[in-house]
Symmetry: C2
Subunit: 464 residues, 2 copies
């Protein structure tokens, strides 16, 4: 037994080869359970290899449970088989996915979402700051971030909230997340799973998907001209409302003060919560930004949420929420065992980016560029045959507007024609409402030089 | 009415000043609801400022809902108050947290956890790769990552799994997360909330906290000499088992093959799932790593989980899981609406780090260093009075071992004495078991030059 030759050695060490041989014999049954193995010394002589090699192979087999040792008696083959199972370690399964990720074709112009144009990201500055952080902040980079994010970043966010939003919040009430989705996940745990969530209809379908995936009760509440209907909200069983008051997605409505007060009153009376999602408030096109609901709230009912994925790059996953003090205390007590999901490398770089004024400059530059794009787009529409057959709804906020078209064909037929012209457009209906002939125009990432041609194609498809 | 002077202008533009004056009058009630405002032209003459300035101020008030317009009639003050609420926009709440984050005192030696020593992280290489990525991969950096991570990173992970673990998996079955916690959150949704989770006792308390915070039923299952007890598991209602078979945390047990087969048989029979958490398998100190449960599984019952937070840096939040094909298909169908929580910047840098062989070099360098530290520590213990009053339990795996001490005093009293000597140690009991006089020694981040002195202090506290 155990009469192995070492002729077929292929790159393995002697001990690995020996280990493999013995293991194979155990698995094939050649070596039976509880059979005694030769002593290390005996096997060493028999195979003409060192005792150390045998020792290493036995040790490996021992630690994997293929053999066991009895004091002063030696090594024995272990029972490894379980009745209902045949082991075959050597054929790992090769996995494959039949339904792969859907393709993203290259459209001439894609109005369906606001990506980040590679030319618009401040790569030079970001690279400079990254270099600085990697050279100077090594200690800090290796130190675990507090659960709610590095103080440096929360301080920078608090400062920018004063500057951009006139909001005065403590860095201690800020929780940093890797995109708003990780923050929602925290909120579900913080607010408790027995609450019913109200979502805007139409509105972000992602939040609805997230609630459904987490098996959290949720109901769509209709949008009227002022935003979410407070009377319908009051009639519902909801105790948490997710809203986008600065710039409703997708209709573009800015919630007027009266409705804001009604919402706050609803939250006060019902002890409910409002999640105020300000996904693109930095890009308000005219005038100063509207005060946040969070600033208007005096009873700790509003959770403020914002993200750098819209204002900086969708691929930098940093978002944050500001919690009322009572919820923040609960967070520290119950949920601060979670690690912050954003790496310290990115937290520190972003903190520098904000603190050194680059963020403000970037926002201003982007706002100017977006405004120019919007104006070009509006002019192109005004000077095209579309002018007499469409109405634009927008509130000078955010990075999209809605266009209503006088269509003689169905929305689907129209969109198919557009697709043939290499233009991608989403109907408002895709966001959970039955609003015919209304389409969403996300304009932030479309190339300026293609605007005129894109409008011409839209007009052509409308006319045909 | 509206008789404002512009003497107190402080940095605001004229229109902002005017907007603030009118808003204040509306909020104070000086301007009553439904009162008509002067026409833009009239107010322009009255205040001697341009029509455009009035227009901008009115527009702002309009978009915030403080005034409304009636076609051909002009502008009117809106009703903003809600019965039960007094608005006072100008005093945003200042938040503060009473219970702050606990302090981390600087110990002489801290055996309680394995952090990353700033000197051990490959900063120069990381900086070089980051620079390269920021210079060359701009398009890719701005492109949204698939929900389960960039292909480049998943490919690199799949390759390193072959290399380090002999595991043959498709990149399509890998899901990248920002630390294992974000992956558990995905798993809870993927496996469904009605399952009962079995956790190792003693074991990682974080997974228990996470399950509790998500209100998921879970039960602790005792550990015997081979790891989690399959007989107790079979008697329980659990259908998902979270285990650390390569190197049980905290006892250090490596699960033998027989128990592995028993576990797989349990999962086959009950249609249950095993979450195989390999948090530090790269640092096995002797011999080749033990085959993963995932490789032994032929029926899609094992979810393999690993992380770069242990092998690279705890502050780089990248982890991954490998799903069986059936679960991966379910993931694509139900949960791929989630954005990948890791930024493309870090995904691409890490992918390069692995692909160009730096990861392997890093692991080898670290393994050598950790082995040296472990040997120094073992020698120091052997040559100290501790030798006759302690037993060490370890399996040559991972970055910690357990030391059992012949204590004449209580664990608490001993730990207090140690704290006075500036040494931090955690009892095994902290991980959910009643194992007296057993303590956890995490040695990866302790400074070599302090090992001898730390052991001397341990011995002193034991002798006193």
């Amino acid at each position: 037994m155990l009469n192995y030759t070492f002729e077929n050695l292929q790159g393995e060490t002697l001990y690995e080869y020996l280990y493999n041989c013995i293991r194979a014999d155990i698995q094939s049954g050649k070596l039976a359970a509880n059979e005694k193995l030769p002593s290390k010394r005996a096997l060493s002589r028999q195979l003409s290899i060192s005792v150390m090699t045998i020792e290493n192979a036995y040790q490996q087999l021992l630690s994997e449970g293929f053999i066991y040792s009895a004091p002063r008696k030696g090594f024995f083959v272990a029972e490894t088989e379980v009745e209902s199972r045949k082991t075959s370690l050597d054929t790992p399964p090769v996995s494959f996915i039949e339904e792969s990720i859907p393709d993203h074709p290259d459209y001439f112009v894609d109005f369906s979402s606001n990506g980040t144009n590679p030319n618009d990201f401040p790569f030079v500055t970001w690279a400079k700051l990254t270099r600085r952080v990697l050279a100077d902040d090594r200690e800090l980079l290796m130190e675990n971030s507090p659960s709610n994010g590095l103080y440096e970043l929360r301080r920078a966010i608090a400062d920018s909230l004063v500057q951009f939003r006139g909001m005065n919040v403590s860095p201690d009430c800020i929780v940093v997340g890797a995109g708003t989705e990780t923050l929602y996940t925290i909120l579900l745990q913080l607010l408790g799973r027995n609450r019913v969530y109200a979502t805007e209809n139409p509105g972000y379908q992602k939040i609805v998907k997230l609630l459904n995936a987490n098996e959290i009760a949720n109901i769509p509440i209709a949008i009227d001209d002022s935003g979410i209907s407070t009377s319908m909200l009051a009639k519902s069983k909801a105790s948490v409302a997710h809203i986008t008051p600065s710039h409703h997605f997708p209709t573009g409505i800015t919630m007027p003060v009266r409705r804001r007060n009604e919402l706050l009153a609803w939250a006060d009376v019902t002890r409910g919560y409002i999640i105020e999602d300000e996904y693109d408030s930095e890009f308000r096109m005219l005038g100063r930004p509207i005060p946040s609901l969070f600033s208007m709230d005096h009873h700790g009912r509003v959770i403020y949420m914002n993200t750098f994925t819209k204002s900086l790059a969708s691929t930098i996953r940093v978002s944050y929420m500001v919690l009322p003090v009572s919820l923040m205390q609960k967070y520290y007590k119950l949920l601060s065992f979670y690690s912050c999901p954003v790496s310290t490398f990115e937290q520190l770089t972003l903190a520098d980016f904000i603190t050194q004024g680059y963020y403000e400059k970037h926002i201003n530059r982007m706002r100017t560029m977006f405004r120019r794009k919007r104006d070009l787009l509006m002019d192109a529409i005004k000077n095209s045959p579309l002018a007499d057959h469409s109405r634009i709804r927008e509130e000078n906020a955010g990075l999209h507007f809605v266009i209503e078209l006088d269509l003689k064909i169905s929305d689907d037929a129209f969109l198919n024609k557009l697709a043939e012209e290499d233009i991608h457009l989403l109907p408002l209906a895709a966001y959970g409402t039955s609003h015919p002939h209304a389409f969403l125009i996300n304009y932030s990432s479309i190339p300026e030089e293609r605007i005129e041609e894109a409008v011409a194609r839209l007009a052509r498809c409308l006319a045909d």
